[in-house]
């Protein structure tokens, strides 16, 4: 099946594969539906946002998070597939981190859920490792010339998440209010968190 594929459309292919695997007892339909529901409802960037808000408000947690991302993230109950070893990259006024997977679509599922379209797009995958400043500008993020850009290509089992800069003017906000400001895009490093 390495030759040119047939012209079965995706909806039909999914149905055909599902029905064959289910009737052979190789896939349990309830398990399949539960996987879908989990990644639609329970696992997503709202998890990562809680991690970021905790790091912004609790200096000890921040320290643990940067030293052992996997462990500190598990403290908040987030773990699972594609999260065996998570490294958290700290943005500072002088350093901006951005994450990609040029080889496929590796992404830290427990904290960010499944990757969005742009992350899987060939344009992002090919260009962010070659001209990150230009790509970030296309996304609307203009970084000063004095900001060092660090690009992380997720090529092993390690998964990366960016700890964005806390925006100015948020001193009075609660952890929950802060979490509501944090976006998926900021945790991949293609945006910054905007002040409310």
């Amino acid at each position: 099946m390495t030759t040119a594929a047939d012209d079965i459309d995706p909806v039909l292919r999914a149905e055909a594969l599902a029905s064959l695997l289910i009737e052979r007892g190789l896939v349990d339909e309830a398990v399949m539906n539960n996987f879908i529901k989990t990644y639609e409802q329970s696992v997503g960037p709202m998890n990562g946002a809680k991690v970021v808000a905790r790091a912004w408000t609790d200096p000890d947690y921040r320290e643990r998070l940067l030293a052992d991302g996997t462990g500190a993230i598990a403290e908040l109950g987030f773990k699972g597939p594609q999260g065996e070893h998570i490294v958290v990259l700290e943005n500072t006024p002088g350093v901006h981190n951005v994450v990609v997977c040029t080889l496929c679509s590796c992404y830290p599922w427990p904290v960010l859920g499944l990757p969005p379209s742009w992350y899987k797009d060939p344009s992002y995958r090919s260009r962010i490792v070659r001209e990150p400043r230009a790509v970030l500008a296309e996304f609307g993020l203009e970084l000063g010339e004095d900001v060092t850009i660090r690009v992380f290509d997720s090529s092993s089992e390690v998964r990366y998440m960016v700890l964005p800069l806390r925006p100015a003017g948020t001193e009075g906000l609660s952890e929950e209010e802060l979490a509501a400001l944090v976006t998926r895009d900021a945790m991949v490093g293609v945006a910054q968190v905007a002040a409310p």
């Binding site: 292919r13 999914a14 594969l17 996304f139």
Partner: protein, 213 residues
Amino acid sequence: MGGKHGFGRVPPLTQEPPFAEPWEGKAFALALLSIRAAGANTPAFRYALERVPPADYLASYYHRWLIASQIMLADSGVLSTEQVTARAARLSGADAAEPDPPELNKPQMPSGGPGNLRTLETPPAFAVGDRVRTADLHTAGHTRLPGYVRRRTGTVTAIRPAAIFPDSAAQFAGENPQHCYAVEFDSRELWGAGAEPFSLSIDLYEPYLERVT
């Protein structure tokens, strides 16, 4: 895809649900479950994705997950391509005969435990601060050494957890666990003197690296 030209501008940063249509959720779940059903592993799934015909690969993300699942299941003799084609035809109302399942040929690679991380007794060959050069490897099968960092010199910045070696595991030739390193390259080392200034960090397994003396 690192460094390839011709894919144009990046798409806009849109808010979107995890699955645009119900079949995408099904494709996602079926792929994960097919890895189990085929007796395969995540590197083998990535290797199957790399063998999806290029036009199909570029056409749709979750459709390529389905095609890759089919490749994996066919490799393991769990389901043949002909079975899927016939079932698809029947589901669309055609009177297609369903072929018998193929002969089971599931990989029998011993597992060193759950997940892909492993503990190695041998010490890492490189330390933080070491200068290393990526090998001139042209693996015929699966590899996690992208072409754009091949034959380049960088610096080890961290030792990552050891893990099963994707190049071996993808083809069920054994877990062959290896040490893994974060290696940082200057953009000019990768893209020449005119490159934008930035650093590129990538995690590379020990067999990909040679010491620079």
